[in-house]
Amino acid sequence: MSADSKLYADVLSTFFAEAKDMLQQMEDALLSLEDDPDDKETINALFRAIHTIKGSAGLFELNDVVQFTHKVESVLDRLRNGALPFEAKLSDVLLKSADHIFLMLEYLESKSTDEAKLALLGIESKALVEQLAEYLEHDTPIKAKEKNEPTQNLKPKVGTWHISLRFSQDAFRNGLDPISTLHYLLNLGEITTIFAIDDRLPDLELLDPESCFLGFEIRLFTAAPQHDIEAAFEFVQDDCSLRLFPPSGPEVDFVSLINELPEEPRLGDILVECGAVSRRIVEEAMQEHNNSPQLANAPRLTIGEILVAKNTVTPEIIDAALSKQSKMRETRTTDNSSRFVRVPADKLDALINLVGEMVICSASAGLLAQNAQNSSMLEATQQMSRLVEEIRNDALSLRMVYIGETFGRFKRVVRDVASELGKKVELEIIGAETELDKSVVEKIADPLMHLVRNSLDHGIELPDVRSSIGKIPTAKISLSAHHDSGHVVIRVIDDGCGIDGEKLVAKARERGLISLNQQFTEQEKLNLIFLPGFSTAEVVTNLSGRGVGMDVVKKNIEALRGQVVLKSTVGVGTTIEIQLPLTLAIIDGFLVKVGMYTYVIPLQAVVECVDADNSKLLKHNRWSGNFDLRGDVLPFLELQEIFAIANDIPERRSIVVVKNNDSLIGLLVDQLQGEYQTVIKPLGKLFKNLRGVCGSTVLGSGEVALILDVPALVRVATENEHEQHNVAVVDRQVLVHANQ
């Protein structure tokens, strides 16, 4: 691949990524408009998104995309101008259009040559264009009505338009060539007079040859309507200011032009010369301009207002002014978005790894400085290690993203699915700012989708059913996220009909998933829903109930070393809680030592540390027992035994009291080493079945320390206990010892 075509491919892939972002923005904007249809900012954002896609697609000559987006843009343009009300049906069509553009982009990106798929896209395009056309057709009747009114300006007519054009300084830098725009004008009609305005040109020694200082006053003789003339400037509109004066416009319009560009003293003369205005008007204007300082309290805007009041300004001019204003607003917002930089995730990973190495190196440099007893060097290394810490924190935070982005996508799902099912549902999002590693966020989206759909399909009742049982007709689904004990907890809560444990048991029996006389606690009954091949839907809908539901969700979440807990009350609602580790997240850890090994306990889980007074320890078996914690019974685990670490037990040991779900448990360790901020390094595939440890971290010494997964440790201990109670044939501990 040549350098050029590689560059092209790179740029193209950036285009696809950006266009998809734009579509997401478009979708967000549409959904927020459904709540607040009059929000001008959002409508503008919507228009901008589609306009940008069209523009960039044009650069890559993706003509199908351009043609389709053009239609969407035209509709949005009318929406923006207030010619079209925002209504649910329009929103539907636009959402579908956004989806369709996404599909087109996907197709182009895959470089597929699948004819059938292409044809299908074409049909879909056509269907949508027809639907969109309805919103454009409306156009004509409205215009027809206007035609009857005194303003005849909207009717295309032959005449000499005056075009006042000023390019911005960045025009050349943005790859625009004014001359081609002027050439294009020739397609519309004849340029009778053209004056180049070079008043902004600085002295030669100050002139930046890459800046554009040009402006033009053009008289264009044409039969084209205003829309077409404006279209000629479409691609340069961000980089120029354009004023259009219709042939029949009153001369007084030029007054404002002259007023607006006072830095161009010759303008008045030029206008007179090209025949746009008479000398008298210009003189009046100049006088007004000279007077204006006295009218300090009534700035330029009032002139516009007076003109409108006097009815001397044609609608076109108001239009032009309005579109100029909105254009200014657009540029302002685009400036915001340009503050983001798109970076490939693997570059970030490489950076984080390097920084991690730096932390270790700076720690060992500090150690050397200490040993050398060189105080100035010690100071320098301390300074360095502080900076390196800072860099590490910043680098790590780069990978963290807000979960709100993922949650936001469910607005659309809830909206679509609810309307399909005839249900009324409101989506509440709590804790959107909770940070989570990007890789986890990506992997959690699918399971969440399943859960939300399940809630919508099976959980939420129909509005009339809800009213009949005294609930508010509009149901509520909440998505919430927060950090807890080194985990992220995500909840999907609905206030639907809840899950009946008895029904689950009956269903499971029917399917032969459990034996007939098995007894269950309430929680165990609910957990039956996670069994493979379990589906409670009476009718299999296209939404859920295909029997691949909850067991897959559970498997996916457990693959992320997470946990799912289901709580439900019949008639009141269901809460599904997902607990996820923060894989690559920074967590504050608490270092403890057992034998020669260091372990990290997530600090959020640590409640307190107490001296393990032997008189208060009562051991049940080798690895666990009870501790008298100020009169309360604290079950504790002896790490050394669970992990089978060969070690001489020191005289003084400590107990770290940690939270485990809702209860407290103690971990008996040899030594406490204090807090330490840890970067979790996932253990590889080899340790995927390892329990009790949720990751590892590299200490300042370069040594690897394992991070304890407290809930999993408790499970290991409980199982050990069960085995013992059941007079297990094999003593697991003995086995582990043998392995060591």
Binding site: E357, F643, G684
Partner: protein, 172 residues
């Protein structure tokens, strides 16, 4: 030990420079373990690292020695001797960790193997590789890709994919 050459001169020991360019020859890293010689395909070898601090990972089979920090990555270390049921390796001052890049199911994983000593890099002709004997070898025959000779001693060439199947190793 007769494999000193590798350490004394930093030059790898090739059989013959001419042969190096011919097709059909494979390069192997030869190391010793419990006084026997083994070889792994050089293409799999990422680097050779000194034996440092290995963190024990609990509740794992004895052949998983633990994990080390290799420039920021946490890499599991396999005790090959324990894997061959020859008992746990006693670490001596020549002990090394050979880092292998194992690609299985399209996923690339780094794994370290603990060996007693690294002997040489050897170029071996396909024709000089004998098939694995059905029995009588010091390790299970499915681990063996072939047998060859180095300095008049037998070298067991390991089939790493079979010796270290990540999925099976992970099943505790």
């Amino acid at each position: 030990m007769d494999a000193q050459a590798f350490h004394d001169s930093s030059m790898p020991t090739y059989l013959d420079d001419k042969q190096a360019n011919e097709e059909g020859a494979l390069q192997f890293l030869i190391f010793s373990l419990n006084d026997a010689l083994f070889g792994v395909n050089l293409m799999l070898v990422k680097e050779i690292s000194q034996y440092g601090i290995v963190t024990m990972v609990p509740l794992m089979p004895s052949y998983i020695k633990g994990v080390i920090n290799l420039r920021g990555s946490v890499i599991p270390i396999i005790d090959l001797s324990a894997r061959f049921n020859h008992g746990i390796t006693t670490v001596n001052k020549r002990s090394c960790i050979v880092i292998l890049d194992i690609t299985q199911e399209g996923e690339s994983n780094d794994i370290g193997i603990l060996v007693d000593d690294v002997a040489a890099v050897l170029k071996i002709e396909q024709t000089q590789i004998e098939p694995a004997p059905a029995f009588g070898a010091s390790v299970r025959s499915e681990f063996i890709a072939g047998i060859s000779k180095f300095n008049e001693r037998f070298v067991v060439l390991l089939d790493i994919a079979k010796t270290l199947p990540l999925d099976d190793l992970a099943d505790i």
